[in-house]
């Protein structure tokens, strides 16, 4: 193989100068259209409000590149999609780099420095690599077509739960057409590329530098063999080549030009969204700036430019739609459709040169592109959507900001309104007097220290449900006994504790959240302790992630890590192995929110339980339905409840004896669901603390009564 400068592809071979000029003109037009499209999108984003992006941009950029190259987020929960998209991505990337290399050689390095490098061995390897890249691209595209056309995956069904047939934006066939157009266009570009390669070979078969090296473009070579076999002459090949050259060129340039106007823009918007992501998006909600008149988002321009950019990153992959517990039980909420609605709204209003009057920018309602209040109130803020989104869209903060505006206007269910008023009055959602918060301590055989009056090592932030709900009080008393036995120096705040506010914030009552958080931080300031432990994952999340924004910075853990440590250090002695067949339900605010998956599982192992995971476990745990303030709202009649859905999933585990929870709301929801789904005679719902106490010999084992009796 020679390094001869003759071993290359002559660009524009056989073109009259006017044809070359025409090509460059078309290219210029394409680039101009592309530039205008980019300008229009950037203008749209700039119509949003300011955004805070923390951390160094360089670090973010490097993380984004690593994530994109690894395709980690796309392969999650859908390995075939991850694989096919890798093929498309790398194929397209290589082909793009290839074309750029040619441009570099021909239009930049060549004219400027009179040096060419695209020839010889480099050229041949280049050709091979690109041929392979093209195969990868086409292969990936064909799989995607098969996926959409034949597999009919439910998450790719664009039917939306928040509109009725007959509503103007119910019909999604436009999206489907765009999807297929994208696939076919790209495939056409790839295929015509190969065809072009082949007819060029036929046309130049007389030239040894071309024909002898044809197998460096294997696909083209095979096609060329076939063409010659059916009798194509060099002249005919030349004619085809001219036609295909223009077709392929215009198609490709057209594709590039239309990137900012089509789904293809996700190349940039997804990268941008990933780069700007907030890893604590749902765990730490943004404060309302002091000077801001209105709380929350009413108009599309109330969203930040980062959020508007993220709206454009959505590729309708459907993972959030699939993961959402509200959607799963038929509520009128799909996180995907909230994003798409807002995107359609933004496109319709913010892409024109003149910004429409403010009244037309209201995103609340049932009109095209608007978000209905039933949709917003269905959300459990479980962050399954945020966690799984491959392009880091942050649905939950968007929903909460929309809720903030509904709260300002009082557009809530009466039950929720009442609960918020009760929380304001008494600091708890049960309406009990403040003095009753520590009533659960009265029946204990020892005194629980008052952390406001004497210093303690560990401050136990108990939480509402654990303090007031009779069933949960038993668990709380159990933990107190465990801590006492292990000799832990702990105390509680007694009446000084108020509801931590996590769910109040997620409902959108930011003012009440500030009142509660400030009250708790003030109470904590009067106590002296080294760290905080809590039995309530919701309290854990907000104290850990959100209280620092209000001046409260503490070392805090959930009881599962504390218990694990006590067991491992031998401060609690396991008396017997339970030998139970169990499954563990990861609480949203402990698991998905704060990555606390392992401690409870290790505890279960230490106490001798056989853990069978449910399909939706760990980061894909299925919310019990109580989050986002939904525990304070009535369930719509006729809809399945998420907790029942979860129970049925557990019931499918044969021989299951215990459904283990480690969150007070989970305990409440799942005990109800156990009865409602008729599984009481099959297995039990128990809190992890109760199982630990059994293993320590402190509690009598409770078992499901024998059905056979």
């Amino acid at each position: 193989m020679s390094d001869s400068p003759a071993v290359t592809r002559v660009l524009f071979e056989g073109f009259a100068p006017v044809a070359i000029a025409a090509f460059y003109a078309v290219a210029a037009v394409a680039i101009a259209i592309f530039a205008f499209g980019v300008y229009r999108e950037v203008r749209k984003y700039r119509r949003g409000t300011a955004a805070e992006v923390g951390g160094s941009l360089l670090t973010r950029f490097r993380w984004m590149v690593a994530t994109v190259l690894s395709h980690r987020t796309i392969a999650r929960r859908d390995r075939p999609a991850g694989g096919a998209h890798r093929l498309i991505f790398y194929g397209f990337l290589l082909l793009f780099l290839g074309t750029s290399t040619i441009t570099l050689d021909y239009d930049i390095v060549g004219p400027l420095f009179h040096v060419h490098f695209w020839h010889g061995a480099f050229y041949l390897w280049f050709s091979l690599v690109l041929d392979v890249a093209g195969v990868a691209l086409a292969g990936g595209l064909l799989y995607m077509m098969y996926r959409r056309g034949w597999l009919k995956l439910p998450k790719l069904d664009y039917t939306r739960p928040d509109r009725q047939p007959g509503d103007p934006d119910y019909d999604r066939s436009g999206y489907r057409r765009e999807d297929w157009a994208f696939l076919w266009t790209l495939l056409a570009i790839a295929v015509t590329g190969y065809l072009l390669e082949a007819v060029r070979l036929v046309w130049l078969e007389a030239r040894p530098d071309v024909w002898e090296t044809r197998w460096w473009s294997p696909v083209g070579a095979v096609l060329a063999q076939g063409m010659r076999a059916v009798g194509m002459s060099a002249a005919v090949g030349g004619a085809w080549r001219l036609g295909l050259w223009w077709f392929h060129g215009v198609l490709a340039l057209g594709f590039i030009a239309l990137i900012p106007f089509t789904k293809v823009k996700h190349i940039f918007t997804a990268a941008g969204s990933l780069m700007l992501r907030d890893p604590l998006a749902a765990q730490r909600l943004p404060r309302v700036p002091e000077q801001q008149q209105r709380a929350g988002a009413q108009f599309i321009t109330d969203f930040t430019w980062k959020q508007l950019l993220a709206l454009d990153a959505c590729t309708k992959c459907g993972r959030c739609h699939e993961a959402c517990p509200a959607r799963a039980v038929g509520a009128p909420l799909s996180p995907r459709d909230v994003i798409l609605s807002l995107r359609e709204f933004a496109n319709r209003t913010l892409e024109s040169s003149v910004l429409p009057a403010q009244a037309e920018l209201d995103v609340h309602g049932k009109g095209p592109g608007q978000v209905a209040l039933e949709t917003l109130w269905s959300c459990r803020t479980c962050m399954a959507c945020v966690e799984v989104c491959p392009v880091a869209i942050e649905h939950v903060p968007i929903i909460v900001q929309l809720r903030r505006k509904l709260v300002e206007e009082g557009k809530m269910e009466p039950q929720l309104t009442k609960t918020l008023q009760t929380l304001h009055k008494t600091g708890n959602s049960f309406g009990e007097g403040r003095r009753k918060r520590a009533a659960w301590t009265k029946s204990l055989p020892f005194t629980v220290k008052d952390a406001r009056k004497e210093p303690v090592e560990l401050l136990w932030f108990v939480g509402d449900y654990a303090s007031f709900d009779p069933r949960n009080q038993k668990v709380t008393q159990g933990l107190a006994a465990l801590l006492h036995e292990a000799g832990v120096d702990f105390g509680i705040l007694y009446e000084g504790e108020s509801n931590a506010g996590n769910d109040v914030r997620r409902v959108g009552e930011e003012g009440l959240y500030e009142v509660l958080a400030t009250a708790n931080i003030e109470a904590l300031a009067t106590a002296s302790f080294k760290s905080i432990v809590t039995t309530d994952p919701h309290s854990y999340n907000t104290i850990r992630n959100e209280y620092p924004d209000f001046g409260g910075r503490y070392a805090i853990e959930h009881y599962t890590t504390l218990l694990l440590r006590l067991l491992q250090e031998g401060r609690l002695k396991i008396a017997r192995q339970l030998g139970l067949r169990v499954t563990f339900h990861d609480p949203c605010h402990l698991g998905r929110f704060n990555k606390g998956y392992d401690a409870p599982r290790e505890i279960l192992r230490l106490i001798g339980c056989e853990l069978i995971e449910m399909g939706r476990c760990r980061s894909n745990s299925f919310c019990c339905g109580a989050g986002g303030g939904r525990i304070w709202m009535a369930d719509p009649p006729g809809l399945e409840r998420p907790a029942h859905n979860r129970m049925r999933e557990a019931a499918a585990i044969s021989g299951l004896q215990v459904f283990v929870v480690s969150c007070p709301k989970d305990l409440t929801m799942f005990e109800d669901a156990l009865k409602a789904t008729g599984n009481e005679s099959r297995f039990m719902v128990r809190e992890l603390i109760e199982l630990v106490r059994e293993a320590l010999g402190q509690e009598q084992p409770a078992r499901v009564p024998d059905a056979a009796a």
Partner: protein, 266 residues
């Protein structure tokens, strides 16, 4: 056009409350205060009237109470009231509902509203008298326990429905100015978010004394009342016979009672 809304900050008893040393009231440490539930509805009705009117309407709230009553007034301001007035004087601590009514009537004479709304009763002492007493002092037309109101400011009268005994509703036309006492359920009171309550702190609360209202001492406090508290005590509570046991056992006993009392009709 002005609507005056008289509100009360009521007190509920905390667990384990104690009677004061003089035996006439509960130790204030054990009182939990809040805006009277009926007043949520009367304020909402006033704000609705203002919002539905074609002409400007001012909603003024008045409360007789010490400084802690400001919290209730701020809530009203957050919900749409334009101005708040609080009247207090140590003497007023000894006033019964009629004594309070005298103060409210004095405020009404000063403010000259076309409509005066009050709650049908208060959730703490449930006199169900203050609003109607004000009407007598002002010599205005009055209707109690109103469950529906249609009033266009400027019109000489209002259309309303009020409850009567036995689940009866009476639809009638009343001339204004009038005093109406409002019943629960007439509307859905709006929610005042905490932000709006905080922002309402910008609206002023005017604090007055009976002297500012030119009330003669013979009408202030106990002197202006028609009753006097002699003592307050915790009564012997009657208690039901509690049926214990498991839920099944309890249901069985109740089923037995049902069969006995209904002569086996079931």
């Amino acid at each position: 056009m002005k609507v005056l809304v008289a509100v009360k900050q009521v007190a509920a008893l905390d667990e384990d409350f104690e009677i004061r040393a003089d035996g006439k009231d509960v130790d204030p440490d054990f009182l939990v205060r809040d805006l009277n539930e009926w007043d949520d509805f009367s304020l909402e009705e006033a704000v609705k009237t203002k919002e539905n009117a074609g002409t400007p309407v001012e909603v003024v709230v008045v409360c007789v109470g010490p400084e802690e009553a400001d919290e209730a007034l701020r809530k009203c301001l957050a919900k749409g009231a334009d101005r708040a007035i609080r009247v207090w004087d140590e003497e007023l601590a000894g006033a019964d509902s009629i004594g309070i009514a005298r103060v409210i009537a004095a405020v009404a004479r000063r403010e000259k509203p076309q409509l005066l709304l009050a709650g049908a009763q208060a959730s703490d002492h449930a006199f169900a008298a203050t609003g109607i007493a004000v009407a007598a002092l002002l010599e205005w037309a009055h209707a109690a326990v109103v469950t529906m109101l249609e009033y266009t400011p400027g019109a000489g009268g209002a259309l309303l429905r009020r409850e009567l005994e036995g689940g009866l509703l009476h639809e009638m036309q009343i001339e204004t100015p009038a005093v109406l006492t409002i019943q629960l359920g007439i509307n859905t009171p709006r929610y005042a978010s905490l932000r709006s309550i905080k922002q309402a702190a910008a609206k002023p609360i005017e604090v007055l004394t009976p002297a500012d209202l030119e009330m003669p001492p013979s009408e202030v406090g106990a002197a202006g009342s028609l009753s006097r508290v002699r003592r307050m005590y915790v009564p012997e509570k009657g208690r039901a016979q509690m049926i214990g046991g498991s839920v099944e056992e309890q249901a069985a006993r109740v089923a037995q009672l049902i069969r006995e009392r209904t002569g086996g009709a079931a």
